[in-house]
C-alpha cells in the first residue's frame, strides 16, 4: 500500500516537473526570441558594413585610365536583387537609446514593420535633396518592437543614417502625437532634408508619435 502511494507521488512529481519545464520554456521564449533577433541583427549589420567597406575599396581602386565601358544585360541584376532581398541598404543609428538597425529597400518584401524598420512608400531616400526619409516600426514588448525606446528621446538628440556609403546626421527638432486613424500628417520644414520616425505612443493604444529630425 505504502509502495503504491510512493509510486503515485513519484509520478505526480514527474508530471509536475514536466509542466514546470513547459511553463519556464513558454515564459522565456519571448525574451529568447528577442535576443535571437538581436544576434541576427548584429550579423546583418556586420554584413552591411562589410559590403560598404568593400564598395569603398572598389571605388578607390578603380583605374579611370583606359577604362572601357561594358553594357550589362538588365535581367541578371533583377534576379540578384530578388535573391538578396534581406540585405540591408542602410542603417539607422540613435546613440542615446543604443539603437542600431538596418533597413531594406522599399521594393523588398521584408520592408514591413513585421520584419524590420520599414521605409514608408511616400518617403524619399536620404540622398534626395530636401527629401523626407520616413521610417516606421513597432514599439512595445514584442521582439519586433525596434522603436520601443524612442519615447526616451528629447529635442536636440542626434540620429544618423548610413546610406549608399554616406552618413547623414540629423538632430531632433519636433515631437508630436496624432490619433491612429490610418494616416499621418507630417509637419516639417520643406527647405531642409528631414528624417521622420513614426511609432505607437508609449503606453497609449490610441495614438502614434511622430519624431521630426532635421539634417545638421
Amino acid at each position: 500500500m505504502q509502495r503504491k502511494s510512493k509510486n503515485i507521488k513519484s509520478q505526480l512529481f514527474k508530471v509536475g516537473f514536466f509542466f514546470l519545464i513547459i511553463g519556464i520554456l513558454v515564459l522565456i521564449s519571448l525574451p529568447l526570441k528577442k535576443l535571437k533577433g538581436e544576434v541576427f541583427e548584429e550579423m546583418r549589420l556586420d554584413i552591411f558594413e562589410a559590403n560598404i567597406n568593400k564598395d569603398n575599396t572598389t571605388i578607390n581602386n578603380v583605374n579611370t585610365e583606359n577604362l572601357t565601358v561594358i553594357e550589362e544585360a538588365e535581367e541578371p541584376k533583377e534576379e540578384e536583387d530578388k535573391k538578396v532581398s534581406y540585405s540591408y541598404i542602410g542603417q539607422l543609428s540613435i546613440p542615446k537609446i543604443n539603437l542600431k538597425k538596418g533597413f531594406v529597400s522599399k521594393e523588398s518584401k521584408y520592408n514591413s514593420i513585421e520584419y524590420n524598420i520599414a521605409i514608408a512608400n511616400e518617403a524619399d531616400y536620404p540622398d534626395v535633396p530636401m527629401g523626407n526619409f520616413i521610417l516606421m516600426a513597432h514599439s512595445g514588448n514584442a521582439y519586433i518592437s525596434f522603436f520601443d525606446k524612442l519615447y526616451k528621446l528629447e529635442i536636440g538628440d542626434e540620429a544618423s543614417v548610413s546610406y549608399n556609403a554616406n552618413t547623414y546626421r540629423y538632430r531632433l527638432t519636433n515631437i508630436y502625437n496624432q490619433a491612429k486613424t490610418g494616416t499621418v500628417a507630417i509637419y516639417r520644414n520643406k527647405n531642409i532634408k528631414t528624417l521622420t520616425l513614426i511609432t505607437c505612443t508609449h503606453n497609449d493604444d490610441y495614438n502614434q508619435t511622430i519624431y521630426i529630425f532635421e539634417e545638421i
Partner: protein, 192 residues
C-alpha cells in the same frame, strides 16, 4: 595594467582596507569561512542550511541592488551562447569538429559499449564531420576566406551548413549527457 607582480600582490593586499564597506565585506567572508570550518567538526545540519541560506541571501541582495546590470549581463551571456550557436567563429567550429572526431574514434575502440549507443554516436558524429568537410570544400570552391566570420555568413549555403552541423552537434552533446547519466544510474543500481 602595466603593474609588476609585487605591485599586483600589494594591490590585492591593500584592497580590503580601502573603505569601511570593503572591511565589512572582508569580515563577513572571514566569518562565513570560520563558521564553515567549525561546522565541519560539529556537522550540524541546521547550520549547513542556515549558512547556505545566508550565502543565497547575500547574492539575492546583490541581484536586487544591481538588477539592471545583472539582467544585461545575463542577456549578454545568452547572446554569446547564441552567437556561438548561430554564427560560430571558425575556431569554435573547428573545435566542435575535433570533439566529434575524438568521440568517433573513442567509440570505435571502446569495448563493453551498447550497440545502440554506438550506432547513434556513429550517425551523429559522421553527419557532423560530413557537414564540416562540406563547409571546408565549399569555402575552397567559392574562394571564401575563413578568417572573416562576416564573409562566411554572407553566403547562404555556408550559413545553412554551419547551422545544421551546430544542431547535430547539440543533439550529440545532449544525447551523450543523457546517456552518461542513465548509464551511471544503471551502474549504481547494478552495484546496489
Amino acid at each position: 595594467m602595466d603593474l609588476n607582480l609585487i605591485e599586483k600582490i600589494l594591490t590585492i593586499l591593500k584592497m580590503p582596507f580601502q573603505s569601511y564597506l570593503t572591511i565589512e565585506i572582508l569580515l563577513i567572508f572571514i566569518l562565513l569561512f570560520i563558521f564553515l570550518i567549525y561546522n565541519e567538526r560539529r556537522k550540524n545540519k541546521k547550520v549547513k542550511i542556515a549558512l547556505s541560506a545566508l550565502i543565497i541571501f547575500f547574492f539575492s541582495l546583490l541581484v536586487f541592488y544591481f538588477y539592471e546590470d545583472m539582467v544585461s549581463v545575463l542577456n549578454e551571456i545568452i547572446k554569446t551562447i547564441m552567437r556561438c550557436f548561430y554564427f560560430p567563429n571558425i575556431i569554435f567550429y573547428i573545435l566542435t569538429a575535433i570533439v566529434s572526431l575524438s568521440l568517433l574514434i573513442y567509440n570505435i575502440f571502446k569495448k563493453n559499449n551498447l550497440k545502440l549507443n554506438k550506432i547513434i554516436t556513429y550517425v551523429f558524429t559522421l553527419i557532423h564531420i560530413y557537414l564540416f568537410t562540406n563547409f571546408i570544400s565549399l569555402a575552397i570552391l567559392k574562394n571564401i576566406s575563413l578568417i572573416d566570420t562576416v564573409n562566411i555568413y554572407k553566403n547562404d549555403n555556408m550559413f545553412v551548413i554551419v547551422l545544421s552541423s551546430q544542431i547535430i552537434f547539440l543533439f550529440l552533446v545532449v544525447y551523450k549527457i543523457i546517456f552518461h547519466f542513465y548509464y551511471i544510474k544503471n551502474e549504481k543500481l547494478k552495484n546496489e
